[in-house]
């Protein structure tokens, strides 16, 4: 199938020209001859069958369409009508239902309008029925239905309207009811509260009455009865006492009875008093009678003739008065009985009274309760009942509008009537009081809401009826519309039947069309299949044979068998063309191979013609080509087999085995590896030694393809020459060295005897000589001097050459150096009448760091030359500061210019060479070694500078050189000299009462060049000053009799004012204390010294006093005492010292030297011990050996510096046998303070120790304290 697809797609573009081919081919045979014809035939068949299928399908389609449109035209109107009727009826039903449930007037009228519109609509639909072909009968039926519906709708609307009216009335009624109900509630509320108030008042009254009665009862029963009962009991006691009295036969018994009697009688008296005070009791009981009766009894027992008294007398007077016991007893008994009776009566009365009061209370309470009862039942109760009934009636009436059935209204009505009856009875009971009548009236009116035609119940009954009617009407309307829908459905059913029939017909015709179409398509497919088989057979196999042959040719196989070119179509023509192409290609291949072989031969010839070994390697280090020379070099045989493709590693291995490379002998493998790594090093050529002392140079280049071209050149000759040169140079150097050494040795050896000659000649010159002898002697001296100068030059030069010249870096006085140099040539210049001038720019520092000796030597050389070569005119030495430029920092420029003979241009370059003068004749004329300028040049270079010359023949020459400029401060000794200069001729006044002191000062100051006036009397000094004597400085003593130094100073100042000279105060012992210090500070002395003043201090003080503005940079505090004895600490004791040395002998030597100088050093043998010792005890100075095992002096010093606090740091002096200048710097950098070389020099040691003492005294102390403490040392 894929083949046919390809053919089909290929056929489409060919179709345009297809007809021509058919007409041409068709004339000869039925089947076309060309591929194009064949393809056209296939296409035609396919086209025809497709056309037939399309026509058949089109016809079937038209048929079905016709049938479908007939269905539509016949049945659609009736279907539409049915649908419309159904829709309208649905609308009518919906609107009718809405109308039936309308709740307001406006809703009702709007829905009524809607309903009418729908009904009109229905009418219109039915009237339009004519067009649809529905029968008349159906139409009439439908019209009738519509009329009925309209009628029902009208009725429904009016019924609903009526219902709405009833509903409205009912609502109004209920609203009225609510109003009345509110009024009723409002009128009954005050009645109820009034009734409640009445009940409250009544119950309060009952309570009050009851309380009063209960209290009275209490009074009577308890407060009355208890005294009475008590009286009764006491009475019994009294009766017993009397009885005892009567019968008593002893006085004691009588007394007991009497006391009982008295006690009881007092109790009775008290009770009687209480009874009398109780109103309630006294109302009921006759207390007076009781008192009378009691009085009678008392009369018997108490009084002079009482029974007890008489009985006592009787007992006392034994029978004097006889008591008539019987009589007395009966009388008493009568009284007692009477009283008892009275008492019992009283008790009875009290009890009766109690009962009466209780009964009264009961009655009172009962009456009150009745009254309350009356009030609550008849008033309050009735009102509450009435309120409840009102509520109930309103409830019943409110429920009525929501009742759904008429029958349900009846129980409500009955209940309301019952309530009404009850209300009537309550109202009767309440009577017709003015306050009740309004409420009663309202109650009756509430009841009336349920009664009559317009009563709530009746209204609801009517409304319910109307609702029922509406439902009925609605139902009927729905039924009618339903019937109409049914009619519409019938119409639809009819239409559907007709449609179904038509559709069946359409389907039949569709089936027959489909069958025909299938047949046509089947035939087409068969035809196409046949066509495809044919095309494949006649084209496919032949084309594939062609393509195979072409591919084989393309791959270069020119001998492939080509298929037979049968037939006369395009394929046959292609086959023939292919065979022609094959033949041509075979011919070309043969000719190319010939050309390549020729070119290669030319390349090989070219490579072979090179004298160097030549080889090319590819990027994998495989040999591409190598010439015979390469084989010869690498393998030792020009005919050695070396095939292209051999790896470089193999070649080198063979080379190593060939024995041609001496380097490979000891370790061939390493050698091979080295060669391989070199092979890839393209940047530099390598040199290799070959057997037979031959040398080759190998250079490798990268080719464009990433391979390597190796070129091996024989450089044996070149190497030989260069070796010879090297040997020659070494020999020359050695000779030069030998020469220098010889010169040095010789000069030294010559100088010693020469010095002798000079010295002796001078001595000789001072002896007595005649003129001739003197002349000879002068000549000898002159010659010897010259010789000495020459030898010195040679020595210097050889030193410079040998690199043994060391340039010092120390502060130097530039001015002095220049001046000395000038002075040295001044005499010679004067001899020749030459002007000698010096010009130093003002910005040139006076002190610089440098080597003054060497600078002077250079200047002298230049000046000497200038004097030598100048006959007339001037010589100018100029010194200036050369500004820093981009290349160099600031430098010092020195130049010597003369107006001499000048130097020819062509000789200038020889000028600075050794042993050369401008020409030989010059040498003869002017003498000299010719070394001077060479030495000067070397020295300047050693100083880091440069020298140059400008000259013009006959005009003059200028030599100029520059050296690095580093300003320095002058050294102490130099300063001292400067100070002394400043003091020359100054006038000094010395005032001291101590003569010795005075004289010492006088001598000292005199020695320094001062003009000294001295006196022991301050007064005299003042006189001198007053007399006009002028002094530049005063040195006065502090402690003097009559007038001390302070006063003297004040007076001098008073006398001279602003012109007063500076004053130095000396004090033998410093009065310590702040008062003195303040005074002294206030006096502004130019210095305060402690006697005896150190000369150094004094000098400094004088200098400061005379020139206070000069030398600001070195204030007094940096000054150090200069002692010849042992240097001391600020407190005056000798410095404490630690000697650190591992060498026992050195230890001993050091300790002996120090002991001699007055110190007592401690000694340790290692750096560790030194550190420990320094931390344990405080040392002023540590003499530290540098060379020690374990921890050397530098490390130990570093540790000491690190561990000790600053004020305790010792002054550490390095001791070493290694005396190198650069070492010294290293020590000082490492924290050591000074440096001494071994063997120790006592002077140097002393100087260092004095420096140490100065260092200790300045450390961390103020200037003032220092001055004072320094002096003590």
């Amino acid at each position: 199938m894929s083949t046919s697809g390809k053919d089909g797609s290929g056929g489409t573009p060919a179709s345009g020209t297809g007809e021509a081919a058919v007409s041409r081919g068709g004339a000869r045979s039925l089947i076309p001859g060309t591929i194009r014809g064949k393809l056209f035939l296939v296409f035609a068949i396919v086209f025809l069958s497709a056309a037939a299928s399309a026509i058949i399908a089109q016809r079937a389609n038209v048929l079905v369409q016709q049938q479908l449109s007939s269905i539509t035209e016949d049945n659609l109107p009736s279907l539409v009508f049915a649908h419309e009727v159904s829709a309208v009826m649905t609308n009518i039903r919906g609107v009718a239902a809405a109308l039936a449930t309308a709740e307001t007037g406006p809703a009702l009228s709007s829905r009524r309008g809607q309903l009418k519109r729908h009904i009109d609509n229905a009418k219109a639909v039915i009237n339009g029925l004519d067009a649809t072909g529905v029968d008349r009968q159906t139409e009439a039926r439908l019209n009738r239905f519509v009329a009925d519906v309209e009628e029902l709708a009208t009725e429904l609307a009016s019924t609903v309207e009526m219902r709405l009216q009833l509903d409205e009335q009912l609502s109004e009624k209920i609203q009225g009811l609510a109003g009345e109900y509110t009024k009723f509630n409002a009128s009954i509320a005050p009645l109820v509260s009034q009734q409640l108030q009445f009940l409250g008042t009544e119950s309060e009254r009952v309570t009050a009455n009851t309380e009063k009665t209960v209290s009275r009862l209490n009074d009577i029963s308890f407060k009355g009865l208890i005294p009475l009962l008590s009286i009764n009991a006491q009475l019994a006691t009294m009766k017993e006492a009397l009885r005892v009295a009567f019968e008593a036969d002893a006085e004691t018994r009588l007394d007991d009875a009497w006391s009982d009697f008295v006690a009881s009688s007092s109790v009775i008296t008290r009770n009687l008093r209480e009874l009398r005070g109780n109103a309630a009791v006294s109302d009921a009981v006759d207390v007076e009678t009781l008192e009378d009766g009691f009085g009678d009894i008392l009369a018997v027992g108490i009084g002079d003739d009482s029974i007890f008294e008489r009985k006592r007398q009787q007992l006392a007077q034994e029978g004097a008065i006889q008591v008539d016991a019987a009589q007395e007893t009966s009388q008493l008994e009568a009284s007692l009985a009477d009283l008892e009776r009275q008492l019992k009566l009283a008790i009875t009365l009290i009890r009766g009274q109690t009962v009466n009061v209780g009964i009264g209370l009961n009655r009172q309470v009962s009456d009150s309760l009745d009254a309350i009862n009356q009030a609550s039942v008849d008033g309050y109760g009735a009102l509450l009942k009435l309120e409840a009934l009102g509520n109930r009636a309103v409830g019943l009436l409110s429920v009525a509008p929501f009742v759904q059935e008429v029958a349900d209204l009846e129980p409500l009505r009955t209940e309301l009537e019952a309530s009404e009856a009850e209300v009537a009875s309550i109202l009767d009971r309440l009577g017709t009081g003015a306050e009740v009548s309004a409420t009663a009236d309202l109650a009756r009116r509430l009841m009336e809401f349920g009664r009559g035609e317009t009563g709530v119940f009746e209204l609801r009954a009517n409304e319910l009826q109307a609702l029922e009617q509406v439902a009925d009407l609605l139902f009927r309307t729905n039924a009618l519309t339903q019937q109409m829908s049914v009619s519409a459905a019938e119409i639809v059913a009819n239409a559907r039947e007709m449609t179904d029939a038509a559709a069946t017909t359409a389907l039949g015709s569709l089936d027959s069309s489909r069958l025909t179409l299938s047949l046509v398509i089947g035939v087409s497919l068969l035809t196409m299949l046949g066509a495809i088989v044919y095309v494949n057979r006649s084209l496919g196999s032949r084309l594939s044979a062609f393509s195979n042959a072409t591919l084989a040719l393309a791959e270069g196989d020119l001998s492939v068998k080509l298929p037979e070119a049968t037939g006369r179509d395009e394929v046959a023509r292609l086959m023939r063309a292919l065979s022609v192409f094959r033949d041509t290609a075979a011919e070309m291949q043969r000719s190319n191979l010939r050309e390549i072989a020729e070119a290669r031969q030319q390349l090989v010839d070219a490579i072979e013609s090179i004298s160097e070994g030549f080889a090319i390697f590819d990027r994998d280090d495989r040999l591409l080509i190598a010439n015979t020379r390469y084989r010869e070099i690498m393998l030792g045989d020009r005919n050695a087999p070396l095939q292209p493709g051999a790896s470089f590693a193999d070649i080198v291995r063979r080379a190593a085995a060939s024995g041609r490379f001496p380097d490979a002998e000891p370790d061939p493998d390493t050698w091979v590896e080295r060669q391989i790594s070199r092979h890839h090093r393209l940047d530099e050529p390598s040199i290799q030694v070959l057997a037979g002392d031959r040398w080759q140079r190998i250079s490798n280049r990268r080719t464009e393809e990433g391979g390597i071209v190796a070129i091996h050149s024989d450089i044996t000759e070149l190497k030989r020459v260069s070796d010879e040169l090297l040997r020659a140079k070494e020999a020359a150097d050695a000779a030069n060295e030998a020469k220098t050494a010889f010169l040095a040795a010789m000069s030294h050896e010559i100088r010693t005897p020469l010095n002798g000659i000079v010295g002796m000649s001078r001595l000789l010159g001072e002896t007595k000589l005649d003129a001739e002898q003197r002349d000879f002697t002068a000549t000898i001296i002159q010659a010897a001097d010259t010789l000495l100068a020459i030898i010195n030059d040679i020595l210097d030069f050889s030193k410079v050459e040998a690199g043994a010249m060391e340039i010092e870096q120390a502060p130097m006085d530039l001015h002095a150096t220049v001046e000395v140099a000038l002075e040295l040539v001044a005499a010679k210049a004067a001899e020749k009448k030459l002007e000698l001038a010096c010009q130093i720019e003002p910005n040139v520092p006076a002190w610089i760091i440098g080597d003054s000796v060497r600078v002077k030597q250079i200047l002298l050389n230049l000046l000497n030359n200038a004097v030598k070569f100048t006959q007339a005119g001037e010589i100018v030495l100029a010194v200036s500061v050369l500004k820093a430029d981009s290349e160099r920092p600031e430098r010092l420029g020195l130049s010597v210019r003369d107006t001499g003979i000048g130097i020819p241009k062509d000789r200038m370059d020889r000028l600075f060479r050794s042993f050369s003068q401008v020409d030989a004749s010059t040498s003869r004329r002017f003498g000299g070694t010719g070394l001077g300028l060479a030495i000067a040049k070397r020295l300047v270079e050693l100083m880091g500078g440069a020298i140059e010359v400008e000259s013009e023949e006959g005009v003059g020459t200028m030599f100029s050189f520059s050296i690095p400029l580093q300003a320095a401060s002058p050294s102490e000794d130099e300063r001292r000299d400067a100070w002394l200069t400043g003091l020359q001729g100054r006038r000094a006044l010395v005032v001291d009462d101590n003569r010795t002191n005075r004289r010492i000062l006088e001598r000292q100051l005199g020695a320094w060049g001062l003009d000294v006036s001295q006196t022991g009397s301050p007064r005299e000094a003042l006189d001198w000053i007053a007399g006009g004597a002028e002094f530049d400085v005063c040195v006065i003593d502090y402690l003097m009799p009559k007038m001390d130094g302070l006063e003297l100073a004040q007076r001098i100042r008073q006398e001279k004012g602003q012109a007063a000279p500076p004053i130095i105060l000396c004090s033998a012992s410093t009065p310590s204390g702040s008062e003195f210090r303040q005074k002294v500070a206030g006096m502004a002395f130019s210095a305060v010294l402690t006697k005896p003043a150190k000369s150094r201090h004094l000098l400094k003080a004088l200098h400061d006093a005379v020139r206070p503005d000069a030398d600001e940079s070195t204030p007094a505090k940096t000054e150090k005492p200069k002692a010849t004895e042992a240097a001391c600490r600020p407190d005056g004791a000798p410095l404490t010292m630690l000697v650190v040395d591992d060498n026992r002998i050195n230890q001993k030597v050091a300790s002996k030297i120090l002991a001699r100088l007055g110190y007592a050093p401690d000694i340790v043998s290692s750096g560790e011990e030194a550190v420990r010792a320094c931390m344990a005890g405080r040392y002023d100075v540590v003499l530290m050996d540098i060379e020690m095992p374990e921890m050397d002096g530098i490390a130990a010093t570093a540790l000491i510096r690190q561990k000790l606090p600053n004020p305790e740091q010792p002054y550490v002096v390095a001791l070493t046998a290694n005396a190198m200048a650069q070492e010294r710097e290293r020590y000082l950098r490492s924290g050591l303070d000074d440096y001494l070389s071994k063997p120790l020099d006592v002077g140097a040691l002393n100087a260092s120790l004095r420096t140490a003492a100065g260092f200790l005294s300045t450390r961390g102390q103020g200037a003032w304290t220092l001055e004072v403490e320094d002096g003590r040392g």
Partner: protein, 123 residues
Amino acid sequence: MGVADEPIELPALRRLLDVIGGDRDDLSELVDDFLSGAPELVAQMSAAAAAADTEALRRAAHTLKSNAQDFGATRLAARCAALEGACREGPCPEAAASVAVIAEEEEKARRALGALNVEELEA
């Protein structure tokens, strides 16, 4: 110029006497110290050279140099200084030979110093 012929240079010894304050007993004591200490130092140097301990060798040479200088054994001092310098440069293959020469010099110096009568040394 050149190296002195005598193993001990008397001026140096005099200088030492001067430096320590001119006490001949003290000088005798120091000389005895040197005579007893020097062979020990040479022995140390031999051992260090054999063990190729450059640092120990250098240190011993330094010490002997310093002492020899003090007592005027200038040739010995010079030999020691040379060896010390060589050791400073790094491992010293000729050390053993140098030590042998030094041992020889040391013996000469020691003998000369031992024969010297300190009391007769001019001030």
